[in-house]
Symmetry: C2
Subunit: 344 residues, 2 copies
DNA sequence: GACCGGCATGTAATCGATTTCATCTGCCGT
DNA sequence: ACGGCAGATGAAATCGATTACATGCCGGTC
């Protein structure tokens, strides 16, 4: 509980000098600096971050609001975000919106109240994250993964359309023609992008997407299960179900297993967002993988640039298709697309 | 950027009155309160949490330091912790130690610097979390899941021994005799408890645990793979591998699959810490499940009690065995042990 | 009618740091 | 010899809230 005054007393200098010594100010003589530093660790003094923040108006803290911590994709994003932020000297406070806009708003308000220096958001819905009459001084903001159309803000995301097209080509190559999709909430850009890319890719291959092969989910396992059950009840069920996120794919697997059907023999499954667990599911899942670590790094980099007064540009990184066995055995000769990872 | 002075001016009162009105102080006349509240939302005023914390010496924030965010068990713990904390009016700052003691120390220091009101820790190793010369005023602390032997601190954890004994009985019942175990870092209490219980349970069943059937892991997938490979290289490999945490079980599955062996026909796998993904692995994994949500609730409850000056007791909650297919088909008649969940 | 108590409010101290401005001491140049 | 400047330090203002203490007023009591 030693304060700066105690250190000053112990070192026989004023609090101003202690502060200067600690902050590496130039005009402190080497001897006094030494004396101060000595007193500091003799007393085990640590500056009170709260007081410091009040005075300097900087908290050295970033806020990260994600849609769902339990989704491994976001867990990973959070983990790399913290890592990169720490490298820049920032802490991260994570807010879990649990896909609920009002919870997202709660976290954003709380974070702003705490005067974080910058905010990373992956919006739970299509509204501006600052809808609720926020006349707070908004710090720099960077959107990650998902974004909000009309909003002029730096966005760091992955380009999923190309990989989705590859996926469709892959499925077509395996002989599948009846492809269904489980979408996410239409308010999210990622859901829309993935479904649109899927629909267009089908068209390119001369297939089309009947209305009954489109089911709306909410990026949680439960909805994936329900939608898949509807697909299976169809007079002519699809040959492959494409889930636009990993948890819904899990739900799809559930539903299929509950009917006693086999993957991929009876029906194939593919997912957006690859995660380590997909290597171990039964069977291993074919999925589109985002470069999560790179996204996190780019996002933190951009945010820190903004905070420190430098400009920041939006970045789009490529996603890539990872073929496993959940849509049928790739025939010999099918290229496995481990393209070199390029950076945008 | 409106401050309390602006509100005071707008409402025609002093800052003291504004503060009192906002904090629900009794002696503010209804009319002035009304006037103040009006000004508040006309200006979109939100109190500066930093300034408030400095004055009141309370941040309404809890710190949560976990060993590994990417471990679904801890992710879930973090999620429920935040939920419960929010219900009590607290925010949570998560620190990910990544199983590295020095990173754990870093996070604890940072959290203390920020003057969190209380700290929840699941220690990465056996040392006191306050080893590094911390003469900071330590706020109330509660340990979750893992604990530190000599330390007199409230501990909220699950009792794994009973469930491990059930597991061994189950394996014995399936006819397995050669059982191996992948331990965690010996510095963690959870690793020791689980291995000890395992060893004792074997003894109870008249089996014993040869040294070469014990491999030390570090609670990460990679170590599970390496240890399992060693097991498989043995002249007489085990019939079942018990991983003392979920990620190492995943590694074990990897190693087994890499050899072209089948689970459970060639070798069985069981894990401590059940997670949703285990229903979808190939095959679904038999595991010991901890009541994570209850642990989180109890931990936050205890911590908040401590913070608010009430006493708090340590709590031990029961874990339970979830039998799936990874150790062989349970014969008809084997009880599936869905015992009613009791609370300690 | 003086006094007391409580209510409503204001003034100013306070939390623990940073930072502006002032002060003091040498030293240099002319 | 003296003005000026740079380096080292200290005193005090400051950040934006909360809160102890002071003040003024009103009503009730003896």
């Amino acid at each position: 509980m030693a304060g700066i005054r105690d250190v000053a007393a112990a070192a026989g200098v004023s609090v101003a000098t202690v502060s200067r010594a600690l902050n590496g100010h130039r005009s402190v003589s080497p001897e006094t600096r030494e004396r101060v530093l000595g007193a500091v660790d003799r007393l085990g003094y640590r500056p009170n971050a709260v007081a410091r923040s009040l005075r300097t108006d900087r908290t050295r803290t970033l806020g990260l609001v994600i849609s769902d911590v339990m989704n491994p994709y976001f867990t990973e994003l959070a983990r790399f975000t913290e890592e990169e932020a720490r490298a820049h000297g920032y802490s991260v406070i994570i807010g879990n919106a649990d896909e609920r806009p009002e919870l997202q708003d709660h976290h954003i308000r709380t974070l702003l109240d705490r005067r974080i220096d910058g905010l990373l958001v992956s919006p739970a819905d299509g509204r501006s994250p600052f809808a609720p009459g926020t006349r707070l001084p908004t710090p720099p903001v960077v959107l990650v993964d998902r974004w909000v159309p009309g909003l002029d803000v730096t966005v760091i995301r992955a380009e999923g359309a190309t990989a989705v097209r590859e996926l469709v080509a892959h499925l077509h190559g395996l002989g599948h023609r009846r492809l269904a999709v489980i979408t996410g909430p239409p308010a999210t850009t990622t859901a829309r992008e993935r479904v649109e890319a899927f629909r267009e890719a089908l068209a390119e291959q001369g297939m089309h997407l009947p209305e009954e092969y489109v089911g709306e989910g909410d990026f949680r396992a439960g909805s994936g299960r329900r939608v898949t059950e509807r697909f299976l009840d169809l007079p002519e069920p699809p040959e492959v179900v494409f889930a636009t996120d990993n948890l819904m794919a899990l739900g799809a697997l559930d539903a299929i297993r509950a009917r006693g059907l086999r993957v991929p023999e009876d029906i194939g499954v593919a997912a957006f967002d690859d995660i380590p667990w997909f290597q171990h599911t039964d069977p291993p899942l074919t999925a589109v993988a985002q470069p999560v670590a790179d996204l996190a790094r780019a996002a933190v980099g951009a945010l820190v640039d903004l905070i420190e007064g430098r400009p920041a540009r939006s970045v789009t990184l490529p996603a890539r298709l990872v073929v496993r066995r959940s849509c049928g055995e790739p025939r010999a000769g099918t290229p496995l697309t481990p393209r070199p990872r390029r950076s945008a």
